[in-house]
């Protein structure tokens, strides 16, 4: 039985199966992370290090760069809205879909399909939906009495970010719905039957049974949304490139522009490290908050 309990040599062989993934992560995640820290502490010419800059880049980003501040604000506003809207709309759809008898499979496909489309494709499609004159926003807007030329949500600094949010919800709500739907269908039916006997209404049943029992799923979805949205780049880049006048600039787009257009590589990486720090921080905060709520709910 030495084979099963594992001598040192046997367990070393077990480790060999894990070696490929460990090597990939060490080489292309850990190493770039270390190199990224080094980059962020240096001045650069092109992608070459020139001189040590200490924390200058960080200080400039945090204290002196109004565009970076704007991008942080936009990123947080966008993430905050996404964290409420994606699971919210997803749950709403899931509750509705779980209540119908026919066509559930079809509805699942309809709401989920945008998730499999490329961010570029979704961005381009919505860019055209928002286009002045022939876009849907313009057509509807004209019908409501606005001037065709003036209906251009992506060109208006006041609406651009939220116009992107609509496309974002369209793309990701279905994923949230799928997760909730699987969970709702696994909930014990007796709870609902019991609640009905006690005269609980539809809303009461949702509030007392569905919502608390779905809490772990809500946690997962909020966390996934946070992780996925703080880094948002592709859809914003395709739809507005961060414009007009930085109204939709996110940390992701600003890092890209700074590194690959202005070639301020060290500075761009300092901002990337700040973003990484914020992602880790929010993950820990959410994890703690939800864990506490989870123990409260179960006790």
């Amino acid at each position: 039985m030495a084979l099963l309990h594992g001598s040192r040599r046997e367990r070393a062989i077990d480790l060999l199966f894990l070696l490929p993934i460990l090597l990939i992560l060490a080489g292309f995640l850990l190493y770039p992370l270390g190199y990224g820290i080094v980059l962020s502490l240096h001045d650069t010419r092109g992608f070459e290090l020139t001189s040590f800059a200490g924390l200058d880049h960080y200080a400039h980003a945090i204290l002196g760069d109004a565009v970076f501040h704007r991008s942080l604000l936009n990123t947080f506003l966008f993430t905050g809205a996404a964290v409420v809207l994606l699971p919210g709309v997803g749950l709403f759809l899931a509750v509705l879909v779980s209540g119908v008898n026919g066509g559930r499979a079809f509805l699942r496909i309809v709401f989920f399909a945008p998730f499999v489309l490329a961010a570029v494709a979704v961005g381009e499609v919505w860019k055209f939906l928002y286009a002045p004159f022939f876009g849907v926003a313009a057509t509807v807007g004209t019908a409501l009495g606005f001037h065709a030329q003036s209906v251009a949500p992506l060109a208006d600094p006041n609406t651009a970010l939220w116009a992107i949010m609509v496309a974002f919800v369209w793309r990701f709500a279905g994923f949230n719905m799928i997760v909730y739907l699987a969970a709702i269908q696994a909930l014990p039916r007796e709870y609902y039957e019991h609640a009905v006997l006690e005269g609980a209404g539809r809303f009461e049943r949702f509030r007392r049974i569905t919502w608390p029992l779905l809490w772990p799923h809500t946690f997962t979805l909020v966390l996934l949304t946070t992780l996925g949205t703080l880094r948002i780049f592709d859809m914003v880049w395709v739809m507005t490139e961060g414009g007009p006048s930085h109204a939709t600039e996110t940390v992701g787009t600003y890092i890209y522009v700074t590194a690959f257009r202005y070639l301020q590589v060290g500075y761009a990486q300092a901002m990337a490290m700040i973003l990484l720090f914020l992602i880790l921080l929010l993950t820990v905060v959410e994890y703690r908050f939800f864990n506490r709520r989870a123990t409260q709910v179960s006790s």
């Binding site: 367990r11 993934i21 992608f47």
Partner: protein, 274 residues
């Protein structure tokens, strides 16, 4: 919730929402075969007679054939490498006993909260030094890095459902580790492996950030990249632009429709397990 009396309004509301959700895709596909001149004039009309020529012209002028081939190549390579690496890793983490298994598990999953986006600058620098800019295998490598951790996470979930007794019994009978993996674990976890393959394929096919940075010459453009340039170059010819968009929309949609069961299963398994 199911089977209980439901008010009618929810069915009506669902119908309206379904139309809203379908509309952008249908609109794009319809405009792809609408003569450019009609796009301004008649946005609500049926595109009849269809201007099929748009599709062919978009295909040729946007070099979409080459882009599709590049995307297929990168996606195929990424899926193959990711599967080999993550199946082997998940096997070790769940059904073998490497020293420090719990710590190794966390180590493998840690990248889930470190997106490759924040490392794009040092990664570009490394890839450039290694001569991997404009290289399709290089882009595949980038996508492997971006996908291995969640692939391994989902696979560990599936592998855990395989009874350890079955594995142990085979080992006592003299089967080696690789034999157990190929004869028992892989066949039993086939739905999970398929789900992971489909997910990785779609994520890689759709990747934009990686290819935007790592690919510069048009010959090596992937579909998302070709598309983003396309709409800029042919901005004045909407029929052509919509045709290009339609060509980019259809492959992942078809893949999803054919394999939607394993797709959804993989996603819910991954999301619910944590």
């Amino acid at each position: 919730m199911t089977g209980l009396r439901r008010p009618r309004w929810s069915t009506v509301l669902l119908g309206v929402l379904a139309v809203v959700w379908l509309y952008p895709v249908v609109w794009t596909l319809a405009n792809a075969i609408r003569p450019s001149a009609d796009i301004y004039r008649a946005p609500w009309d049926l595109p009849w007679p269809p201007a099929i020529g748009n599709i062919g012209e978009a295909w040729n002028r946007g070099r979409l054939g080459a882009a599709l081939a590049n995307s297929a190549y990168v996606t195929g390579m990424t899926v193959a490498v990711t599967l080999v690496v993550s199946v082997s890793g998940a096997y070790s983490l769940t059904r073998l006993r490497p020293p420090g298994r719990a710590v190794l598990f966390l180590l493998v999953l840690a990248p889930l909260i470190i997106p490759t986006d924040v490392l794009i600058v040092p990664l570009f620098s490394m890839f450039r030094a290694a001569g991997l800019i404009d290289s399709l295998p290089g882009l595949a490598l980038f996508n492997v890095v971006a996908n291995v951790s969640f692939a391994t996470l989902i696979l560990t979930g599936y592998f855990r459902t395989i009874p350890q007794d079955v594995v142990d019994a085979a080992r006592v009978d003299g089967a080696g580790r690789i034999e157990v993996l190929l004869r028992i674990v892989v066949p039993l976890a086939r739905p999970g492996i398929l789900a992971v393959a489909v997910l990785v394929a779609v994520f890689t096919w759709n990747d934009f950030g990686g290819s935007l940075v790592l690919i510069q010459k048009p010959d090596a453009f992937t579909v998302p990249l070709a598309m983003s340039r396309f709409t800029t170059f042919f901005a004045t010819d909407q029929g052509l632009t919509f045709a290009g968009m339609a060509i980019a929309l259809v492959p992942p949609l078809l893949l999803f429709l054919v394999l939607q069961r394993s797709f959804i299963q993989g996603l819910t398994a991954g999301a619910v397990r944590r």
